[in-house]
Symmetry: C2
Subunit: 266 residues, 2 copies
């Protein structure tokens, strides 16, 4: 069992005194955090795992998460409701609860990802240096728990530098530190793994995600994932962030957009 599978494992309450097969127990791992708060993509992956199991479908296709309050590491539950089970897809409402409070409300449409090669692609993989020539956590003193599990490399041209603001675009690579291959669920981690792109504008600080909607487009081939995230509009303290993820063959495997609040310096 990979580190990612373990950290996002869910257990159906199919028996025992608390029997309720629509509820999945999960142990949130505080190791997958940034600044003590479990990463949003990590949470979406665990919730989508419960949702796809509830729907009995192999893959998440569309995942829409609205963030209510950040959970802490520790026990939590995913309450699921299969809203429709159709021929092509099934749709599940899945809500993460902790201490009797809803933390993250999610709609998941699940099904089988296509294996066929794309008929059309208009977002080619960005050109950037290979992972070995990119920024890694060895290049900073800032400690991010998540990076114990996820190997993130940033294109040096897009590393945030308060002394040298640039366009709000961050590119890089993602792998899992234990060497396991990222699967469709791990793509939900990949769409949220870049530092907030507004850091590139000098707007440094905790930037909470309010909503994140992701499309998973294909099961990734083994190897590094490439990602690119950019902000289109920063206004009144809000910004959007659009992310695309490619696998090692250059195929687009995930797309996402999130709405987040610009952080205040801490």
């Amino acid at each position: 069992m990979s580190d990612f599978d373990r950290a996002t494992a869910v257990r159906r309450r199919g028996s025992g005194s608390t029997y309720d097969p629509s509820i999945y127990d999960v142990d949130l791992d505080a190791g997958w955090s940034i600044g003590g708060r479990p990463n949003g993509g990590y949470l979406l992956a665990a919730i989508a795992r419960a949702a796809t199991q509830a729907a009995d479908r192999p893959h998440p296709l569309a995942v829409s998460g609205h963030f209510l309050r950040p959970p802490a590491g520790g026990p939590a539950e995913v309450r699921t409701e299969v809203m429709k089970a159709g021929r092509t897809v099934a749709t599940v409402r899945a809500t993460l609860w902790q201490d009797d409070r809803a933390c993250l409300d999610v709609l998941v449409t699940a099904g089988s990802l296509p294996e066929a090669a794309p008929d059309h692609v208009s977002t080619p993989m960005p050109v950037m240096p290979p992972p070995a020539e990119c920024w890694s956590r060895a290049d900073t003193d800032f400690r991010v728990e998540l990076l114990d599990h996820v190997d993130v490399r940033l294109d040096p041209a897009t590393v945030p530098d308060p002394k040298q603001p640039g366009d709000p675009v961050i590119r890089g690579w993602m792998g899992l530190r234990d060497g396991s291959a990222a699967d469709a669920l791990a793509l939900l981690l990949a769409v949220d793994v870049a530092p907030p792109t507004v850091f590139r504008l000098g707007m440094i600080g905790w930037a909470p995600t309010v909503e994140l909607s992701a499309l998973v487009r294909a099961v990734p081939a083994p190897g590094w994932l490439a990602f690119e995230a950019d902000a289109s509009v920063v206004a009144g303290g809000w910004f959007d962030e659009n992310a695309t993820v490619w696998d090692s063959t250059g195929r687009v495997v995930a797309q996402a957009r999130q709405l987040a609040l610009v952080g205040r310096p801490s």
Copy 2:
């Protein structure tokens, strides 16, 4: 009351024998359809109206809709549940039901749209001919009920033509036929008003939306809205469509991405 306000009006069951203040009745207007099915953006606008009323917030900020089955014109209800009412935003789960079947499940994060001018924008309004020089429904025999209420003009360079396939990009203008100004809710119509962009690849046919997530970024100024939609990846019968909407001052007022199925020729 504008035509759009009337067609998307919701009535809270605050009294009477069916008293339940979390339920809103709505009369879906078949006039806002394409091929007999009420338009997805129209449905999202009516549902978001109920959600913002339930949350007692002026505007939808992030709206994520998962489409379960197409409703018909006629009576329907929006069942709402306020998941969190916070200082900055409130999140509501709102589901459209008709004939005791869930048709469209939606999460809405609502709040107040910023009035401040953007600090950063990286998606300028596309250059295209003015509405009077664009394609309108007068240029086709194909009847679309929605166009009785919504005035859609397409940049001639992006009008789908089976004889001349092109990139899956469609640009144009949108206005309301009764001359009323589009408000924040009407932007949910604007993000879904372009013909499916895969039409430009020659893939003509009913292309059902499976999921659509929209961000509303500002209350639009009066006047024509400009939109641009494009598909990034078409694979295995699935395509994404990314849409941006600008108001008459050139401000980005909405962004959305949807997942849809490529249509089969009917």
